[in-house]
């Protein structure tokens, strides 16, 4: 896959962009390029950070931007002939939908029953496109069009850790207490981010995820 644009976001960070849209095929390529780069660190390489459709390479002053561009372009060409990573196992996330404080209001807005919303949210396998916003926050897609809603006009000031939320064609999980503008439809007892755990993130870009409804008493047991 060819880069559509290569640009600096810092004198020592260059971004390789493959599209300006959200696409599973492109994200698969970005994650594969990240994995390949991490397996083949070059002189001066610090880290690689994937987003929906681009990969950013951070490097130190012992290497020039042109050298980095050349190395990553070579990696990118090798990748097309390289065997792709197999489809990852699906991670199951239990969700207590009773604890979704915005579920009643969005049921009205979408003109669907709460049960139908839960059913639709649980009947898809999602891809983790990227981690960002706050430590461990997974941006997952693609949400079925029946559940598409714009973000809240006024973001909630405090969202509980583990809150499962939707916005636009995405679904996500708030790992820590934070403000946020997505609609809260449930809560998971799983610690999505734990600094003291290795790895600290429960999910990483490229993972496949399914949600499974649980009752409040099961939530309390699992928590």
């Amino acid at each position: 896959m060819e880069c559509t644009r290569i640009y600096s976001i810092h004198d020592r960070a260059v971004t390789f962009e493959f599209a300006e849209i959200i696409s599973e095929a492109i994200n698969i390529h970005v994650i594969a390029l990240k994995a390949y780069t991490d397996r083949h660190p070059f002189k001066g390489f610090i880290e690689s950070v994937p987003s929906y459709s681009s990969l950013t390479i951070y490097f130190n002053h012992t290497v020039t931007k042109d050298e980095v561009i050349q190395t990553i372009s070579t990696y990118n060409n090798q990748l097309s002939t390289d065997t792709r990573n197999p489809t990852p196992d699906c991670k199951i996330i239990p969700v207590c939908y009773e604890m979704g404080e915005d579920l009643p209001s969005i049921a009205d807005e979408l003109d669907l029953t709460k049960e139908k919303i839960i059913d639709l949210h649980c009947s898809h396998t999602y891809r983790v496109y990227m981690i960002g916003f706050t430590p461990g926050f997974p941006y997952m897609g693609t949400l079925t069009s029946a559940l598409h809603l714009p973000r809240k006009k006024t973001p909630a000031l405090k969202i509980e850790p583990g809150s499962v939320a939707i916005a636009g064609n995405q679904t996500g999980i708030y790992p820590t207490a934070s403000p946020g503008g997505w609609h809260i439809i449930g809560r998971t007892p799983i610690a999505i981010f734990d600094k003291k755990r290795n790895p600290s993130c429960f999910l990483e870009a490229g993972d496949h995820v399914r949600f499974e409804p649980i009752a409040k008493n099961e939530f309390d047991v699992l928590k």
């Binding site: 600096s8 004198d11 962009e17 300006e20 990227m130 960002g132 430590p135 941006y139 981010f193």
Partner: protein
Amino acid sequence: MSITIVKPGISTTVQDFGRWGNQSMGQSIGGVMDEVSASIANIICKNDQHAPVIEMTLHGTELLFNEDAFIAFSGFGAEAMADETILPFYKLLFIPAGTLIRMKPKNKGCRSYLAMAGGLQFDEMGSTLQSGDLIKSEDRQYAFKGIERTKQIGISQWKIHFNEQDLLEHSIDAIRGPEWDWLDASTQEELFTKPFIVSTQSNRMGYRLNEKVGGLKEKKEMISTAVTKGIVQLTHEGNPVILMADAQTTGGYPRILRIAPAHIAKLAQCKPGDSIKFNQITEDVSILQSNAQRSLLNKIKSSIDLI
């Protein structure tokens, strides 16, 4: 060896020079805001240039020394006082056990740094300090030429010389950002001619600027992509936001400028209410500036090594 935080002041943290390797998990790099001042404090103490230091925003911090220590202050956020004695910045100081140091208003820059010979240890790197927090250092007997270990505060004869104005003037060099071409021509011109005031809604994550600028040629939505320290985003309301040391790892606003890395230290010393101006440079010039900044620190280090 330890220091007790008696009062945390406006905001006091222990900072290293950034924790890399976890941005793909959404963890920001963090680290000191003004790397130049923080490095100088470490160099004076003959520490590793990138050893952890205490970063104090403006004034109000009070620190109690539980044991004897050799320390150095740098930066411009406050005046350091021990009783009625003003403790000079950019000199090596001997502080006897039991000394209480208070940071008083100075109205020059925004941040001060304290380095201690032996470096500092703290588990919660970057988290806001509270009264009663204990910051430890390596337990070792340090000795420095020309400064006595007595029951009194000792001050070195020598002082680090550099042009303070380099860190205190508010002309900030910037390079066109990845979405520069999205801006209409008048906005592009506005960015490099108009003065901007640093808003009170500014912190270690980012500086919001009070003035709005025109906008985009056409309405265009961006999908989230990487951002880092120095990126200037254009928010929906039209206010530019400069991302600083605790920058988030990804963002979805157009990245209209990026600050020359060598000029981040100057921004770190800007207070809410200060007026700044952007000056356009190229990436090549920016890289030369960073090299010059590294050489300056190396030169200071060599001069200290001779003492």
